[in-house]
């Protein structure tokens, strides 16, 4: 849906003829749609950038948004939508900034009049539509990359290896244990075992909502890997419903020690490593 050379020539003339008026009117419409969440000055700058990109492109002859000579225009649009996406604006609020140009163009075309007025406006509107869709696409892409980033950060955040006692480290697992997370957990745990030279590791699955065969297999692999490095693994946080499900599924944890709670697991490990815990005798007559 490209603009022919004559059409884009007229568009360039229209837009650059009254550049100041176009940008002010455009800024005005956008400002009212964003309800003051961006400063007038910032909006004016964005609109001016877009304006000059469109004029620059239309002066080169025919406009085709997917062609090479529209690269600058595409960059300006992508810039705008990236900024809006990161600032938390909705898709509508972002694309309205582009569609606002239609209103401006309608006014200009009407004033200029002439035999081609309607045809020109339809062609210009198509271009604006295309620009709007392009903006929408890049808005979605930015949002998707934000979500992917956050998922990655969550992956990092949600797998801490904590030291519970001298020689005892624990991994509290929370949420879904998919292959990617299981890999991160295993790497972290094994590295921490080396760094702290701990002989005991506790894997706590209190926060794992469902233990299916894949989760079980990931845990078993981690335990076997830790064993190869000479550390003993205890699985804790096995709730009644999880225990019954594991039995029904037929998963066997073999000789791996399992405990209902993290406290039980810690007590078990302390006993194994010969640490005595005793309650202090209450002082008589105190």
């Amino acid at each position: 849906m490209a603009l022919s050379t004559e059409e884009s020539g007229r568009l360039a003339a229209l837009l650059s003829g009254q550049a100041d008026r176009v940008t002010s009117r455009w800024t005005e419409i956008v400002t009212s749609s964003l309800r003051g969440r961006l400063s007038q000055a910032e909006l004016r700058r964005q609109v001016q950038d877009l304006h000059s990109a469109i004029v620059a492109t239309s002066e080169q002859g025919d406009i085709d948004l997917s062609a090479d000579n529209a690269a600058e225009l595409r960059a300006a649009l992508a810039d705008l939508s990236r900024g809006r996406a990161r600032q938390g604006f909705s898709a509508t609020e972002t694309t309205v900034s582009i569609f606002a140009l239609k209103d401006v163009l309608a006014e200009l075309v009407q004033e200029a009049g002439g035999a081609n007025a309607l045809n020109d406006y339809v062609a210009f509107a198509k271009l604006v539509d295309e620009m709007g869709l392009f903006t929408f696409e890049s808005f979605v892409r930015t949002r998707e990359s934000l979500i992917a980033d956050q998922a990655e950060q969550l992956l990092e955040l949600s797998t801490p290896v904590v030291k519970l006692w001298e020689g005892v480290v624990a991994v509290p697992l929370v949420g879904t244990l998919d292959s990617a997370r299981a890999q991160v957990v295993m790497e972290r745990l094994l590295q921490t075992l080396v760094d702290t030279s701990s002989p005991y590791a506790i894997i706590d699955i209190t926060g794992v909502p469902a233990v299916d065969t894949q989760v079980a297999q990931h845990i078993l692999k981690t335990v076997v890997a830790a064993r190869l490095m000479g550390a003993d693994c205890i699985i804790s946080g096995i709730r009644p419903q999880i225990a019954q499900t594991i039995v029904a599924l037929g998963i066997e944890f073999g000789d791996i020690a399992t405990k209902a709670s993290l406290a039980d697991a810690l007590r078990h490990v302390l006993r194994l490593s010969g640490v005595e815990t005793a309650r202090r005798q209450p002082r008589r007559g105190a």
């Binding site: 998919d178 894949q214 419903q241 019954q244 499900t245 037929g250």
Partner: protein, 139 residues
């Protein structure tokens, strides 16, 4: 299949990625809570759904899952249908044997999930793929 009347609309979820398996799990859990399954039964049916949805993804090359509530007299239940258009299961008896796997898993997914639910039905052929229907009734 036992006589059961569908309550409300069945919920469908396509299975194309690992995230979809998580979505299936959440959907099944929501429905299981809605029909008042006990915590143990909720966990069992969610785990079975997780296994079968992953089978749909890994062995069936993706497919769809439909979750519906069913009623049989005074009991309510969850019925889940897993359908794919994959290559089907060559030897069903062997596939339902504990510890048998063609994919490097524990080999307990299919056989184990049969023990986790009350009703379990498989239709499979190389032409139409595999369709598994499971039902878990409230006690």
């Amino acid at each position: 299949m036992t006589a059961g009347i569908d309550l409300g609309h069945p919920q469908a979820q396509s299975v194309r990625s690992d995230e979809d398996v998580v979505r299936v799990r959440q959907l099944v859990r929501t429905v299981a809570v809605a029909v008042k399954l006990s915590l143990v039964d909720q966990t069992k049916v969610v785990t079975a759904a997780s296994e079968l949805a992953r089978n749909t993804l890994v062995y069936g090359g993706g497919g769809s899952v439909e979750v519906a509530t069913v009623e049989n007299g005074r009991r309510k239940g969850v019925r889940i249908v897993f359908a794919d258009s994959g290559p089907g299961i060559a030897d069903l008896d062997l596939a339902l044997t504990d510890g048998y796997t063609t994919g490097g898993g524990l080999g307990l997914g299919l056989s184990g999930s049969r023990r986790l639910v009350d009703e379990f039905e498989i239709e499979t052929s190389p032409e139409t793929g595999t369709r598994i229907t499971v039902t878990k009734w409230s006690r």
